[in-house]
Symmetry: C2
Subunit: 392 residues, 2 copies
């Protein structure tokens, strides 16, 4: 299980693409403070701030650990974080318009920098940043292929973990144990404010309990303090068990879901599962450059409707989520989103998790999820494992 150091050329290309965008928008430079953003552009995620001027060499200012950042950073100018008095002198008078990722930056950080860099204009480059990240380089695609294969390998072992009458949390413990042993790095990063995620092990009516997670399924959870994922209740025979996990290697996430059941499942749930697979396959065929995100979502909604399952698609009871797939890479919620209002065309090299799912209150959730790359020949499936319901 080798650790991949990011090649220098990767970071150079990423910075160069960012600089083109900054120049195009008339922004003099971008100042990043969010660890995942910094990792993407430097190869290290030590506690630091990254300054990328619209042209010229970037500069990494490290709070902690400087010694570690020195060994990991691919930015030539990596230095200890300056004092508040020194910091302004690093920004020339010609730098007037500075970009920040306001989607994740706390107000206190903004206030700190706005105070030191008084008189400048600060611009939200959250969207630009996410657009840049959404297209994966050939090197990144290879990382995602590795993550997809390894995650699928862990899912293939799940039948060995399932025992009749076990609690949801015991199954989760067994699955996460195997994920960790396989080297998955663990912290599932989501960019959206307030989202927490470890992985979903949920079954029966508990899977159909509504929740605040920004996905079709939240799970019942253990307590109101952690209202998602597995509960302490036992899994009953005939209940669909949904496992939805991300696996992370070298920072890159693959995401997949499968349905397991002890005993047999009702014909209605099996039929809905088949519809979910049909939707996935139809969309996967169309994960090609130029396909419109919104069209793919509407195709999925149309297929659910024709199957008589519109009210169960991606949630229920008027609390459905309005997407059927999401970009992923270093974070679980990258661009693009297959949702209404996303009118952009797909681009070669984007990574997308398709997750058509149906929710039946009191009974459970069925559906499927795989991670794909957008290619000219349609979606390349990375989570290589049969989609079928697994009878354990």
């Amino acid at each position: 299980m080798s650790i991949m150091q990011i090649p220098s050329i990767e970071v150079e290309q990423r910075i160069s693409l960012l600089q083109s965008r900054l120049q195009g928008d008339g922004i003099d430079g971008a100042l990043f403070v969010y660890p995942v953003d910094i990792f993407y552009f430097t190869g290290t995620r030590q506690n630091s701030s990254l300054w990328v001027p619209a042209s010229g060499a970037p500069m990494l200012l490290v709070r902690r650990s400087f010694s570690r950042a020195q060994t990991e950073s691919l930015i030539a100018d990596t230095r200890p974080f300056p004092s508040g008095r020194e910091l302004p002198s690093l920004f020339s008078a010609g730098i007037r318009r500075i970009g920040f990722t306001f989607d994740v930056m706390p107000v206190q950080y903004y206030t700190y920098y706005a105070g030191l860099l008084a008189g400048r204009e600060f611009i939200d480059i959250s969207r630009m940043n996410r657009e840049l990240r959404s297209v994966k380089s050939p090197w990144e695609r290879e990382r995602l292929r590795v993550s997809g294969k390894r995650l699928a390998g862990v899912f293939a072992e799940v039948p060995q973990v399932i025992e009749r009458g076990m609690r949801e949390t015991d199954l989760a413990a067994g699955v996460e144990y195997r994920l960790k042993k396989a080297g998955s790095e663990g912290n599932v990063r989501a960019r959206s404010f307030g989202q927490e995620m470890i992985g979903l092990t949920t079954s029966g009516y508990r899977a159909a309990v509504q929740g605040g997670f920004d996905g079709p399924v939240t799970g019942k959870g253990i307590s109101p303090a952690s209202p998602y994922g597995p509960s302490l209740e036992p899994i009953q025979e005939g209940e669909p068990i949904m496992l939805d996990y991300a696996g992370i290697w070298d920072g890159y996430l693959a995401d997949m879901s499968r349905i397991f059941v002890v005993g047999d499942m009702s014909p209605a749930l099996k039929k809905a599962f088949a519809v979910a697979c049909d939707i996935q396959d139809r969309l996967a065929d169309n994960l090609r450059p130029g396909a419109l995100c919104e069209d793919l979502y509407l195709t999925a909604v149309g297929m659910a409707k024709r199957a008589g399952l519109a009210g169960n698609f991606m949630g229920c009871s008027g609390e459905q989520v309005r997407f059927v797939g999401h970009g992923l890479g270093l974070e679980l919620d990258e661009f693009p989103v297959l949702a209404k209002g996303f009118t952009e065309g797909l681009k070669e090299g984007q990574a997308i998790a398709l997750e058509p799912k149906f929710m039946f209150p009191g009974q459970g959730v069925v559906g499927i999820e795989n991670t794909y790359l957008v290619t000219a020949a349609g979606g390349e499936k990375l989570t290589i494992l049969a989609d079928d319901i697994v009878y354990a």
Copy 2:
């Protein structure tokens, strides 16, 4: 393993204390958006915003899931999130000064609210919020006692998990498996920006690798993308193994560390371990109302210095952290902090993890950590287990 619903009276008292502070500072109300803050004041952590006027009834505005928030929220006025057009009408013209927790609020959220509530003054109440949370009610202390006992129970099982020659990540997998089976909720919440934490399993020289985590020990980790916690390397005989884990029940964290070793450890490391225990015991004796945080830190530094270990205390190589204990509760990094510059006196009912640790580059880390309550009789230890090095 029963789930504790927060009693109504708890939430009423918390809101009442907040309102007193708001009135004292001439603030007309507080608007919370951070899930942990909302959970503390309402009993639910569904995706929502909470308005607490300086006097009168609070109002919880729920984005998702409203149905779930209705079953969990202890706020009488719990309603669906209004449209951007409706929202301003919920705030009367007399409301001029509005408090936000700027330590965690993203700039995009601030911009959204500042746009809708134009003409008002927005005030950072991060410090007030953390001060309120730092003193635990008798009900909360009982939750912390339960978490401390359960976490200690998992630590007591660790010798069954350790095997000669196992990789750090395999030990971590085994420990986290038992934590999950014991019902620990999993997401270790830290308030500080960019901090990620699952739990530390680290050993030998790897434990003494510097890192960006805001604690004395970071661990080597698996890759530069996740540079903390266990690595994929095998644990060698004679290397101190440090386990540092939080356990979470009903949202409340206990935090502890113990040292394990396969075979024997060098006399120098054993001596440093004994000094760490002496420091802990001295400070624990002084976890009494009125003791000054800074004094406790300086006492610890003085004891380390007299033992000839000043350069190894709480890190090394000029990258030491400048505290010896931290508050905890719903988050791992609550107030108070036992550090220089924290001149406040302790208060009855604060919860504090003491963690004196020594780092020896190339060799490893030794030290101890337990969670205590501040009482008139000195620290009440919650993580009830012997402090000794465990020879596995």
